[in-house]
């Protein structure tokens, strides 16, 4: 496992994607065949199910170290990762076990059906025969994520660099249907088990933010305007009765959206369609926060399917019955899209993106401002003549987003992050005034620089009121401008309001705490356009 352990060490220390890719390439160049397959399996969610429960591992560690539970938890909250906490708390190894990744994985697969006693004997033997870093990896092999910033895409880029095979083909290969026992590394990367012709995607056409006044765009009649939706862009590839969904990040996300696959199988034609995957209920678009519950799940449960149903707004068509039509004008492609969608009865949440009816530029301002009411981010302006460009190109497509709403609030709680951020206080809770007291309005963790986070972490260490557990209550002193995309009344929140996508716009070092907003002023934003 030494080789795999070194790979993880060199990947986790760097935040440069290229360095990660180089380390992976180096591993692929030197590791045994089965180890390489396991590596790919581990980083693409094809891992065996967890053979040992974390509660047992925790209990065994406490038994060995003779530590009280509260101290174990205190350690865990400092480290921010259970597998690592165990690795650090356990006594030094007494001997050294030298097994390959494949050997460990085979042992772990066999462990699943063993008795608790046998499991314990196996885990304890491993712990006493591995050094700290290997022990951490062993704990991660049992279950849990490595959190080292290696996405499927990074893995694919490393394989592409190694083999010169097309990255999207590799993406299809590695997430395709294969098993460590039934394939060789060569077979896997050459896609012996897949037919790439059926899944091959096109690059997405992307828009720039509008940087001029509307009249400068020319005749309103030359443009088609749609609402801009904030889900995830998806390209649905339907060829020879096979259906694939590609995300904008060039990952295959097909298995995450069974409803979409089912709906698409109603069509008889083959096509490649670009559109937005959204969470939808009763024909209304839900918040991105809701959609997030559906993303990157290994299993989509029935419960989740009911709770967060997926919808789709089709924007464009790139290929029709085998013909690449990206160079045809948008107006014509849209017609084609309409005729396809009108030819088949579809579930109501799968539909064409509706067009904004307007004849004067002036009419668009109000429509844009009202976007929030339907959980839209603003408007998209597309030139009728435009081809479906490759990548981001200025001029033909513009996005015109609504301005975010902002309030000034004070930090009252801080919590450490996880993974790379586990040493710093990165997650904050903010409050506004309510009479003489404070009331929580938002939790946010993005929008600050590393330097600011470091500064805030030091401040939190000095100004924490509560000392135990992961959350620190701090003196209400630091004021931040919080930006958010929408606000709604909510009886699930103590403050009575729910903010959509709250994030830190900036740290208001200039503002004293008595100048923060009150809950009344915040509520006024609800009716404001």
């Amino acid at each position: 496992m030494n080789q795999f352990s070194n790979l993880i060490s060199s990947i986790e220390i760097t935040n440069k994607t290229n360095a990660k890719i180089d380390a992976l390439v180096n591993y692929f160049n030197t590791a045994p065949d089965k180890d390489k397959l396991w590596l790919i399996a581990l980083f693409t969610g094809k891992r065996p199910s967890r053979p040992v429960k974390t509660t047992l591992m925790k209990a065994w560690c406490m038994e060995i170290t003779n530590l009280p539970e509260w101290l174990f938890l205190e350690s865990y909250s400092t480290v921010g990762d259970l597998g690592e906490t165990l690795a650090l708390l356990l006594p030094k190894p007494t001997h050294h076990l030298d097994l390959s990744l494949n050997e460990w994985m085979s042992e772990l697969r066999a462990l699943k059906s063993k008795s608790e006693q046998d499991k314990k004997a196996f885990v304890l033997e491993a712990w006493s025969g591995l050094d700290q870093q290997e022990r951490l990896i062993f704990n991660k092999l049992i279950g849990g994520s490595f959190r080292i910033g290696v996405s499927k895409k990074t893995l694919v880029n490393a394989l592409a660099k190694l083999t010169n095979i097309d990255a999207n083909q590799l993406m299809h290969s590695i997430i395709g249907n294969w098993d460590v026992d039934n394939i060789t590394f060569e077979e896997l990367i050459h896609g012996k088990h897949i037919n790439y012709d059926n899944s091959k995607p096109y690059p997405f056409c992307l828009a720039y933010a509008l940087e001029k006044d509307l009249p400068e765009l020319g005749e309103p009649n030359d443009w088609i305007v749609e609402q801009k939706w904030d889900g995830i862009r998806g390209q649905i590839v339907k060829r020879n009765k096979e259906i694939y969904i590609w995300s904008r990040g060039e990952e295959l996300v097909t298995s995450q959206f069974p409803e979409l696959i089912e709906a698409m199988s109603n069509f008889t034609d083959d096509f490649v369609i670009d559109g937005e995957i959204l969470a939808m209920k009763d024909n209304d678009v839900l918040l991105f926060n809701d959609l997030q519950k559906r993303l990157n799940r290994k299993n989509v449960t029935k419960k989740l399917l009911d709770e967060v149903p997926i919808g789709f707004y089709a924007y464009d068509i790139l290929e029709y019955n085998g013909n690449d039509i990206r160079e045809r004008p948008f107006k014509e492609r849209r017609k084609r899209l309409e005729s396809i969608f009108n030819s088949v009865a579809l579930p109501e949440h799968i539909q064409l993106s509706f067009l904004v009816d307007f004849s004067q530029w002036d009419a668009l301002y109000d429509i844009r401002d009202n976007s929030r009411a339907i959980n839209s981010e603003g408007l998209m302006l597309k030139q009728k003549k435009s081809p479906y460009h490759t990548g981001r190109k200025k001029g033909d497509w513009w996005k015109w987003k609504v301005d975010p709403l902002t309030i000034d609030a004070v930090m009252i709680y801080a919590q450490k992050g996880s993974g790379r951020r586990s040493s710093k206080y990165t997650d904050y809770t903010f409050a506004v005034k309510k009479d003489d007291a404070l009331v929580t309005v938002a939790k946010a963790y993005s929008g600050l620089t590393d330097k600011e986070i470091t500064e805030i972490s030091q401040w939190v260490n000095k100004n924490a009121i509560e000392k135990f557990g992961p959350v620190r209550t701090v003196k209400p002193e630091l004021v931040f401008e919080i930006a958010f995309e929408g606000i709604a009344l909510s009886n699930r929140h103590k403050s009575g309001v729910a903010l959509r996508f709250p994030r830190i716009a900036r740290w208001r070092k200039d503002k004293p705490v008595d100048e923060i907003d009150t809950i009344e002023t915040v509520k006024k934003l609800i009716t404001a356009p």
Partner: protein
């Protein structure tokens, strides 16, 4: 007044000895300050008189100015101040670092300052002192902190340098100029040419002039030809991270050396090439064994994991209370930067 209260009182300016009329490592200006070691959060400006170990004296003068009024005595040698018997004992933390022992009418208090129980190649090793009241630090007072032996650490650092050299890279180690820098010098001695930042160079010179032998190093200055540094070793204060001077080093591989590097998240946070667990402080087992060895009836826990550590001590039957001070890692980082007046641009 209890015997303990005659010896120590916790005040806003620092830990005070009412009988002896002096302070221990005070954080505000006072008339008479007894100093455990030269780090900037313990030895501060503005005291009318200082008392420290012989080994710390040059360091204090170098850092706080040659005009300060300083007396010094050797380790394990006692003097009497207003009836209080005072002596310094090795703390194993940095060169010159000491625990301060106070005795009055048979009652003994030991203030540990900062300490490290594990011996290294450069500072006088820590010695446990029996006492009634022990004031301990708790920087690494969690059971996740356990250090490797000095030999293992040496092998780890030197093998990193070797790998860097094979890849045509220059090894840069970041650590405080007092303590960590000299420790790194001792760990890397004989490996290859070691260049040190001017702040470290000047301090080394002062230490050497007082008769303490240090491994050989060269000054890392901006005028040096890039080629000279290629594949060599550089030791610099942490404040240099991200500085222009560091960016000019050819193919630098940068490592942070600190006990905090024990945690993966801390190593990854900094965006450096390596993080080595090199600490001047006692690890978890070091703290526990040191406290047990004092046989103290009362323990006060200062900077670090006070709350957790004192709770645990009480659970294992050692009476302990938290003590709020102005010492600690962040105070140190800030104060060290100011003391050295390091140009980071």
């Amino acid at each position: 007044m209890s015997q303990e209260n005659q010896l120590i009182k916790f005040t806003k300016k620092g830990i005070y000895c009412p009988q002896g009329k002096f302070y221990l490592d005070p954080w505000y200006p006072v008339d008479y300050a007894v100093i455990s070691h030269g780090h900037a959060d313990h030895a501060r400006w503005g005291m009318k008189r200082y008392l420290c170990t012989d080994d710390s004296k040059t360091i204090l003068k170098h850092r706080l100015g040659t005009d300060i009024k300083t007396e010094s005595i050797p380790y394990n040698h006692s003097i009497t101040i207003n009836g209080v018997e005072l002596s310094f004992h090795p703390a194993g933390h940095v060169i010159g670092s000491s625990q301060i022992r106070l005795e009055y009418k048979g009652f003994v208090v030991v203030f540990s300052g900062d300490y490290k129980t594990q011996p290294d190649f450069i500072s006088v090793p820590y010695e446990p002192i029996k006492c009634h009241t022990f004031i301990t630090e708790s920087t690494f007072g969690l059971p996740i902190y356990n250090w490797k032996s000095e030999k293992e650490l040496q092998a780890e650092l030197q093998s990193w340098v070797k790998t860097n050299q094979e890849n045509n890279r220059t090894s840069v180690f970041l650590g405080y100029s007092l303590g960590k820098a000299q420790r790194l010098m001792s760990l890397l001695d004989g490996c290859d040419d070691v260049y040190v930042h001017r702040a470290i160079h000047n301090l080394n010179e002062a230490i050497s002039n007082s008769g303490i032998e240090l491994p050989e190093t060269k000054l890392w200055s901006a005028e040096l030809d890039k080629k000279t540094l290629q594949n060599k070793i550089i030791i610099a204060p942490p404040a240099l991270l991200g500085s222009r001077m560091l960016k000019r080093v050819p193919n630098a591989a940068t490592a942070i050396c600190s006990g905090w590097m024990q945690i993966r998240g801390n190593r990854r946070w900094q965006a450096v090439d390596a993080g080595f667990v090199v600490s001047d402080h006692a690890d978890w087992n070091g703290l526990i064994s040191a406290i047990k060895a004092t046989e103290a009836e009362q323990v006060y826990v200062t900077h670090g994991s006070q709350a957790v550590f004192s709770k645990y001590l009480n659970e294992i039957g050692i009476k302990a209370d938290e003590l709020k001070t102005e010492y600690g890692d962040e105070a140190l980082a800030k104060a060290e930067k100011e003391t050295e007046n390091i140009e980071t641009k």
